[in-house]
Each structure stands twice: as C-alpha cells, then as structure tokens.
Symmetry: D2
Subunit: 106 residues, 4 copies
Amino acid sequence: MPSPQVLASLRAFVAERDWDQFHSPENLAKSIAIEAGELLECYQWSSAPDQNRVEDELADVVTYCIHLANKLGVDLDDIVVRKLEKTAEKYPVRLAKGRMTKYTEL
Amino acid sequence: MPSPQVLASLRAFVAERDWDQFHSPENLAKSIAIEAGELLECYQWSSAPDQNRVEDELADVVTYCIHLANKLGVDLDDIVVRKLEKTAEKYPVRLAKGRMTKYTEL
Amino acid sequence: MPSPQVLASLRAFVAERDWDQFHSPENLAKSIAIEAGELLECYQWSSAPDQNRVEDELADVVTYCIHLANKLGVDLDDIVVRKLEKTAEKYPVRLAKGRMTKYTEL
Amino acid sequence: MPSPQVLASLRAFVAERDWDQFHSPENLAKSIAIEAGELLECYQWSSAPDQNRVEDELADVVTYCIHLANKLGVDLDDIVVRKLEKTAEKYPVRLAKGRMTKYTEL
C-alpha cells in the first residue's frame, strides 16, 4: 500500500512543488507527530467529533507515513505484517485475551 | 489500502485477542499519537537512527491508522486522495513552489 | 517558575553530563512531544492509571519545558500569564461559559 | 511552581468559564500532547521559527501541565526534582558524559 495510482499522485504533488528538499526522514517523522496531534484534537473534549474532520486529519497522518516509507525504501504493507508477527509473539492469545496489560507484565 | 490480506491479518489478530472492545475511535486516535511519539523518539538526538527501529515504529503508527479507518468505515486510499485535492487547492504550484510557507501566508 | 533551586539542579545535571550541546530548541521541542506521548500512554487504555507513573511522565514533559524556556531566555510564569490574557480575549466568559467550542465558532 | 499568583489566575480563568467539568486528567493529558504537537509545528520545516509563536505554544503546554498537576494534587517542582534524582541514577556522569545513548545501552 498505497495503490500505485495514489503513490503516483502523492509523488507528482511533491515534485511539482519542489518540496522533496524538505522531506528528510526527520522532518517527516516530526510531521507525522504534528498531524497525529491534530487528529487527537478532534477527540480533545468529545468522543464523537465530526467525521469529515477526523477523516481529513487521519489522511494527513497517513500521507506523511507514505512519504516516510518512500524515503526509507520500504512498503507499508510489508512492515505492518512484519511488525504484526513480532507483536503476536509478545502478546500470545492465551495470555493477552481480553486485556490490555503491557507484554512486560503479562 | 492496505491489501485485503493485510487487513484480514490485522482483523484476525484483534479478534483472537478480543481486543475490539478497547478500539474505540478515541483510543485509536490516542494510540496513533503515542506511536508517533515513539517514531519521533528515533530522531530525538540523531537524524540517522537505526532503520529497523524506524520501520517498526512507523508500522505501529500505520497499524493504528488502519484500525481507525476500519472503525470509521473509510478506505485510506480514498481519504488520502480526497485530502490531496484539498491541499492542492490551498497550495497552488505557482505560489508554493520551493517553499514551505503556510497557505494562510502564501 | 521553577524555583531557583530546581533550576540550578537541572542546569547542574546537564552541565555535569556535557549535554547542553544536544539541547537545541528544536531537539527540546521534539523531546517535549515525545514525553507528552509517554504521558498520554498512561491513559491509552485506562482513565485511571498508576499515579506514580503519571507524575514521572508529567515531570519529564515539564523538565524539557524548563530547558526550552531557558534556551529562549524567557520565564515560564511570564509566558503563561501573557498567553492566558490572549486566551481570555478569545474566550470571553459570556460566550465560552460551560462549553468547549473553538473560539472561531463561538 | 508556578507562583501562587499565576496558579490563582489559571484557576480563576477556569472557574469563571465553568470548564473544570472538562478537565479530567485524561483530557488534560490529551491536551498536553495536542499542544506539544503545535509547539513542534513551529520547528516542522525550520530550526529558527518566530520566537513569539514558540513562546505561546510552550505556554499552552505548560498551562495544561499546571492544570494536570493540580488535579493530581502534586507540585511541579517536587515531581521534577524527584524525577531528576531517578534520571541521575540511570545516567551516571561517568557513563553518560557527552553522549545521548539510552541508559539501557550505556
């Protein structure tokens, strides 16, 4: 992920504006944290915010994640699956079922 | 995005552990911000951190983004494209080329 | 704030370790966001976390805020009061009482 | 910290607006993370942002930290000093001098 068309659109958007020079991995990591804060702001005082606003903020987070994966030369699907396997080992069904205890305390 | 297989794996992981009860949109938004902080931590004192660690933290951010999109009933590709169109209007190539000035000051 | 003794302790801690070289304003701003994520993690799945853990994470956020204020040459009490005056203008009691609507929509 | 006058001003501001009902510890922890993201935004693409803007965003972070300390019934100076003692043990001068290696790898 994303689809090849979406990836091409994102890359064209950045190329047209000559913004690649600003997209260091570090700046992209900062941008992800900043946008994650804006997404969280939707839920600052309410657990049922406007859905369109949430979708826009979530899209911003994911957009920067796609840019960072690009820079790192990795595919998001691949790293999500690889991390899921690690997490599955840390949280075996037998111990983790129905509770959110940190794996170090399971 | 993600691919149908990755989405199925993520859903099975959560279902097996009976964790869906904890995945309110608000908790997922908090989780995205928390994981974005851990991703940023890779770059806290260095601009060239260990790539494996960065990939794992990026995967955590994206995993929660996938879960939240699921809860909202939206596709990540769709909302990324829709947001890109809005951003393209706010940052016309003519004004934004080569600089990161906020659109309100362009 | 903080008290002169606390400020002196923080400065001595940094000086002894020769860490001032790492404390650029940008690195401190990243550190504040990272520690704010760790504080939020206390509340990721629960609204009643362990108080000692919360206090430690809150202390980390505030410690980096003190270091940043130091770098900027400002006093935290001063900037808090000055910002409070601005916020009071944006949120007049008459309009804001009892609700968390953003000032742009009051 | 803060000074008694600043604390009194912050409390009066909240009381006049009847906002205490929204200031659960969890909402305050979210607010600290949100404001830390806005502070970080000052440094998103530049390491030398406008100082007034930085001061305002830093003030927002600290304001919510003061509110949270209040809710928890603790004094910020006290918890900062207590945490500093713990950190000093994890990072002995002998091992930590001049480098930012995590204590688990010192």
